[in-house]
């Protein structure tokens, strides 16, 4: 079980003081948060990618490359990498380079992006978002697996005899998650390639995502990658903790009430009852997070959103102490113990390399199973 954090990278004023960090302060605080994640024993740090204010992380591989040099164990990931508006050739090159620098501690989560104007800024159209995601990823998938690629598609200039360099570390591409909150086509895409599916269910009710994840699992099996319960699932989470539940609620309420995504809407109490948000003691966070497995089955990666809505860095670091000290060890122990032996652990470069060495035999077995 991989447990970690993901950040949007928003610059939001602290509603209790009215003060917003500078972009420089926010970028440096993201680095401090990632380093803290490693220090307290988390497995994953993922950064968003955005190309408009009030967000700072427009250049994820620059940040993750810097973090690769500052950390030793942490898996560096994204939440999400825009497969629609980035050139898939540049994604192939950037993340392969990052994978080498980080000695394999890299994977990425692909997403479409929901901000209309960003698409034309990069020469695209949000109305073709699904088509862009499908064509661009198909090319990216080939660029990492075929040394010489001839390509012609609808959305980028053709390639003749193109080799994406550097080639992936150990000949094994970074693991890919596909993130979606409502599109069956993206669940279908993740299933087709046998990639991971990340359901960021933090802002929506669980029952919607139960169907989406169930569909991905069923299609994963349909395409011969294994049984439905062997599909690779990641989930979001959002928590704020203090030793005493009442202290957590009192401290977090002004941040909740003014949060960019859901502020000025439902009450904290309504939102916590309708979404995965947990505001309370570490034990309450453990209890709520364990219900995710009951809804979605055994899963491989749990990422928490910890640093949004203008929370000051000091508070976020305290939260990470609680997350790493009291919550994650229990969740890891419980979820690892509950996961059956035939369900894979979270994807790592080492595991993918090991699988690739026996891969030919495995794929033959799987094909025989799926056609029998």
């Amino acid at each position: 079980m991989q447990l970690g954090i993901f950040t949007v990278g928003d610059v939001t004023p602290d509603p209790t003081t009215g003060q917003a960090p500078t972009e420089h302060e926010r970028i440096k605080s993201m680095v401090a948060i990632a380093r803290k994640a490693e220090e307290v024993g988390l497995d994953v740090f993922a950064t968003g990618e955005h190309h408009n204010p009030p967000f700072v992380p427009s250049s994820p591989t620059t940040m993750l490359g810097y973090l690769a040099a500052q950390t030793e164990k942490l898996i560096l990931s994204t939440s999400t990498t825009l497969i629609t508006t980035n050139d898939p050739v540049k994604i192939a090159e950037d993340y392969a380079m990052l994978q080498h620098l980080a000695d394999g501690r890299v994977d990425l989560m692909l997403g479409r992006g929901n901000m209309g104007p960003v698409y034309p800024w990069f020469g695209q159209d949000i109305r073709t978002g699904i088509e862009l995601a499908i064509e661009n990823y198909h090319l990216l998938h080939r660029l990492w697996r075929e040394d010489i690629v001839d390509w012609e598609g609808e959305f980028r200039t053709p390639l003749q005899g193109f080799t994406s360099t550097p080639r992936p570390l150990d000949g094994v591409p970074p693991f890919v998650w596909h993130g979606s909150i409502r599109s069956p086509q993206i669940a279908e895409q993740a299933a087709y390639y046998g990639d991971g599916f990340f359901a960021n269910h933090i802002f929506w009710p669980t029952e919607h995502f139960v169907r989406l994840v169930g569909y991905y699992r069923q299609r994963f099996a349909h395409y011969g990658h294994g049984a439905p319960e062997q599909a690779i699932v990641g989930l979001g989470g959002q928590v704020f903790m203090r030793k005493n539940s009442q202290d957590a609620v009192r401290e977090f309420r002004p941040y909740f009430d003014n949060a960019p995504v859901y502020g000025h809407g439902p009450s904290l109490e309504e939102f916590t009852s309708q979404t995965p948000l947990t505001v309370g003691s570490p034990q309450e966070v453990i209890d709520k997070t364990l219900t995710f497995r009951e809804h979605f089955g055994d899963y491989q990666r749990q990422l928490f959103l910890m640093d949004h809505a203008g929370l000051p860095l000091r508070t976020v670091l305290e939260q990470l102490d609680l997350l790493g000290g009291e919550v994650v060890p229990v969740l890891r122990r419980e979820l690892d113990a509950l996961r059956p032996a035939n369900v894979p652990d979270g994807p790592t470069h080492e595991a993918l390399v090991a699988a690739s060495l026996t891969g030919t035999q495995l794929e033959t077995d799987e094909l025989e199973t799926s056609t029998s």
Binding site: H138, W204, H208
Partner: protein, 202 residues
């Protein structure tokens, strides 16, 4: 014979509400044109007002609002009634239809109705409310019913003009519903294209 369901949405804000009164009479008139046992599902938007605003802000409905949305989208026909504010539907009425999926009412038989202080605003049904349902690709019946304050007292003297319009509109909606197969919920997963097809289209 399959039993039919009619969802009745009222955006009236006062209690008691003349918009609800009009909507109920339209529902009764429609039911008279359908087999006995037709089910009427009443949706009072006033009770869902906060949930509707929250849905606009968060992108998802509360459990109560989700039930109301499912009542509307799974019904065989819809009666949608609003008081007129500033010459058009009120904000609550529009906000409810704004939080539905864009395709949720495609092909749905709909009867539109409005209430207002005077008959001077009755064409708002034609220049504001009917275009909303045209955008949503609903099938709106020809007769739209407007009830001004005065109409409620004029049944006897004016030959029951409001009552006659209510009966005609209800009969039109019943006829459209009667011609159709019972409504079935669209399933985005059942109709999802296999990946080979998504890829081939590239």
């Amino acid at each position: 014979m399959t039993l039919r369901t009619i969802a009745v949405v009222s955006a009236g804000l006062s209690q008691p509400s003349s918009t609800r009164l009009l909507a109920d009479q339209l529902a009764a008139a429609t039911a008279r044109g359908l087999p006995a046992g037709t089910q009427i599902e009443e949706i009072e938007l006033r009770e869902l007002a906060h949930d509707i605003v929250n849905n606009l802000l968060t992108g998802f409905p509360s459990p109560a609002l989700r039930r109301a949305i499912e009542q509307v989208t799974s019904a065989d026909g819809l009666i949608a009634a609003t008081p007129l504010y500033s010459g058009s539907y009120n904000g609550l009425f529009k906000s409810f239809f704004d939080v539905l999926d864009p395709d949720a009412l495609a092909g749905k038989p709909v009867l539109i109705a409005a209430t207002g202080g005077t008959a001077r605003h009755s064409l708002a049904l034609e220049h504001a409310i009917r275009p909303l349902f045209t955008y949503l690709r609903a099938v709106t019946v020809p007769t739209a019913v407007f009830a001004a304050t005065q109409d409620w007292g004029s049944a006897g003297s004016s030959g029951g003009a409001l009552t006659a319009r209510i009966e005609r509109a209800g009969a039109e909606l019943a006829a459209v519903i009667g011609q159709r197969q019972p409504a079935a919920e669209a399933d985005p997963y059942a109709s999802a294209a296999p990946f080979e097809q998504l890829l081939r289209n590239r």
